[in-house]
């Protein structure tokens, strides 16, 4: 181990070793002197994880572009294709197709940035060993989830802001101007984001591998988009299909968003003939709690096939 055996930086390494031992011994004495050197707090570690998640997300440029563009592109396509048709009328009030379509896109964006992103990314991270590596550190599971939820929150806020901006600037969709509607928007948005996020965590245990995660997560969500009043009015669905969709959060987030962005007259053409804010809050809260319980019980750091 002399410094002359041609391996660069060896001398340095040796010195470092010498420095290290002193530090280490000092350290242990310190620990003994002051027992209970504190582990970093769960919230603080959660913020670190949030920073990690955000950095990773923004650096995967393709996924940033597509996840932000998806609701906007869908809005643009539908508004352009059906824009020439007759405006949508309910109770003597008319709205443009873009306006009718916007709430569904907001709701879809929420589910994509929470449920879909989390379920896929956690399944992939379980598969490639990221979770196992984190498990080897003192990082609490809660901090890991806080990081994920933080990322969801940031992306869903940015995405929704962008969508609303495009809708109003490009497609002349009038945005609500009274505080009551924005208050509704806020609680539906927050509750929907929270429910979507914890559902994503719970659902991440379903895909058997990272490779199958996309298909296993995207397909049911796509089916829900068609049956939850995102792409066309729920009243066009057969009753049983509507009943089925009504079990899941997306239908309620979309309905809540319609109550924000559509005139009150449109409540009459809802299946129930009303906005059903109480039911919306109840269903979303129920999913939030159920997914929290299920997720906490089924979450695994390791792959199915790993012991």
């Amino acid at each position: 181990m002399s410094g002359t055996d041609g391996v660069g930086g060896l001398d340095k390494l040796d010195q470092r070793g010498a420095v290290d031992q002193r530090e280490t011994v000092d350290q242990r004495e310190t620990v003994l002197d002051r027992p209970g050197r504190q582990l970093p707090g769960t919230l603080r570690q959660g913020l670190v994880r949030g920073g990690v998640e955000l950095l990773q997300f923004v650096r995967e440029r393709d996924s940033v572009i597509f996840s932000f563009a998806y609701p906007i592109l869908m809005l643009a396509i539908f508004a352009t294709v059906f824009g020439g048709d007759d405006p949508i009328v309910a109770g003597g009030t008319t709205v443009s197709f873009a306006q009718y379509f916007l709430p569904g896109m907001v709701a879809t964006g929420v589910m994509l940035s929470t449920f879909q992103t989390l379920a896929i990314s956690i399944a992939v991270e379980r598969d490639d060993g990221t979770l196992k590596r984190l498990r080897a550190t003192p990082l609490p599971a809660t901090s890991y989830f806080l990081g994920k939820v933080f990322l969801s929150l940031v992306t869903v806020l940015a995405q929704t802001a962008l969508l609303l901006a495009v809708a109003t600037l490009v497609f002349d969709v009038p945005l609500p101007d009274d505080a009551g509607r924005w208050a509704t928007f806020a609680w539906v948005f927050v509750l929907g984001t929270a429910a979507g996020a914890v559902c994503g965590v719970a659902y991440s245990s379903v895909p058997s591998s990272g490779r199958s995660a996309s298909a296993v997560v995207v397909t049911p969500l796509l089916l829900l988009q068609f049956t939850s009043g995102v792409f066309f009015p729920v009243t066009q669905l057969p009753g049983w299909m509507l009943d089925l969709a009504s079990i899941f959060p997306l239908k309620w987030i979309a309905q809540g968003m319609r109550s924000v962005f559509l005139p009150d007259a449109f409540a009459a053409v809802e299946p129930a003939g009303a906005w059903q804010h109480g039911a919306t809050a109840a269903v979303l809260a129920a999913w939030l709690v159920a997914a929290l319980v299920v997720g906490a019980r089924t979450f695994r750091w390791r792959r199915h096939d790993d012991g």
């Binding site: 390494l13 031992q21 350290q27 550190t137 003192p138 609490p140």
Partner: protein, 324 residues
């Protein structure tokens, strides 16, 4: 470095002695069992009654063929797997029930690390350090594993050997008391392996206890204070690299050709055997094909795990050993 290191290590040891934990061992395993399989397909014991002791401050190398139960054992010690039976104490706690403060005291370098990331090496080490109460300086750790030049490179673009070194950096940044290295130098070139050995030695000299699994005997011989050979889920031998297998396993073998037949004799007194052969051959005549060999660590290891060695396949006459 050795001369610098030992006093620190001794100081650490005596401090531990003064510390009064109920169990002075860093790792204590008794009768560990783990089986895989199902009632239908049948069970297989991956670990079958394994015992292991690791003292604070030592490097223990766990050797064994693939499927011997090395990784399963190490993962049970790390708290990743449950065991079916046996007693396990790691840093005085049962890994099955140990909490976060226990995890802060161990470092883990796992065998399979496939996770790729858009984070840089420095970001990764720094964010990992944030989980520990008393981490090492991330920049120093990165320098110690020789990744200074890659500190700002994305981990996705690292080579296999560089990734492995990052794994090691992540394993030691929390300043662990006990470090698990599971086949750490697989895929290293000889130079990288040598620097890695130096790093491990310096960690040990700094007071870190190290449990190392490896396929490489030269690695075990170079690093380990003690070698534990595992076969079929149980320990078949333990000792320093120089004494593994006991004196008997190191007994020299004298071999020669006897009218076209290869003969060999295991003996503690090879000179006497050679003298006898010389006498038999007659004055000034060669003994055909004469050789005297002492088994290497590799020979000892291979015979312990039941593989054939270079001296096997020849009928060895052990009679003179008894006589000697």
């Amino acid at each position: 470095m050795q001369s610098n290191g030992r006093p620190a290590r001794d100081a650490y040891r005596s401090m531990l002695d003064g510390m009064q934990t109920s169990d002075p061992l860093a790792v204590r395993v008794r009768g560990l069992r783990k089986r895989y399989g199902s009632a239908r397909a049948g069970y297989k014991d991956a670990v079958a009654g394994l015992d292991l002791d690791v003292s604070p401050g030592e490097i223990v190398a766990v050797l064994g063929p693939n499927g011997a139960g090395k990784t399963t054992t190490v993962e049970i010690l790390e708290g990743f797997r449950d065991r079916d039976d046996g007693e396990v104490q790691v840093l005085g706690e049962d890994p099955r029930r140990a909490g976060r403060s226990w995890r802060a005291r161990i470092g883990v370098v796992m065998q399979d690390s496939r996770d790729m990331s858009e984070l840089t090496v420095l970001e990764k080490v720094r964010s990992t350090a944030a989980s520990y109460p008393d981490p090492r300086d991330p920049a120093e750790v990165i320098a110690a594993v020789g990744l200074e030049e890659k500190a700002r490179a994305r981990t996705r673009g690292l080579s296999g050997g560089q990734r492995r070194r990052l794994d090691v950096a992540l394993g030691i940044v929390g300043r662990p008391e006990l470090l698990f290295l599971d086949e750490p130098t697989t895929g290293f070139d000889p130079q990288a392996r040598r620097s890695f050995w130096d790093l491990v030695t310096s960690l040990r000299d700094g007071g870190t206890t190290i449990v190392l699994t490896t396929h490489y005997l030269d690695e075990a011989a170079q690093l380990a204070d003690r070698v534990v050979v595992v076969r079929d889920g149980a320990v078949v031998a333990t000792g320093t690299p120089d004494t593994l297998g006991g004196a008997q396993a190191r007994t020299p073998v004298v071999a020669w050709d006897d009218g076209g037949v290869r003969r060999a004799e295991r003996t503690d007194r090879p000179t006497a055997v050679v003298g006898r052969l010389m006498a038999a051959a007659g004055p000034g005549r060669e003994v055909p094909g004469l050789s005297v060999t002492r088994p290497t660590l590799e020979d000892v290891y291979l015979s312990l795990i039941g593989e054939t060695t270079s001296t096997e396949g020849i009928e060895i006459d052990d009679s003179s050993r008894e006589a000697a």
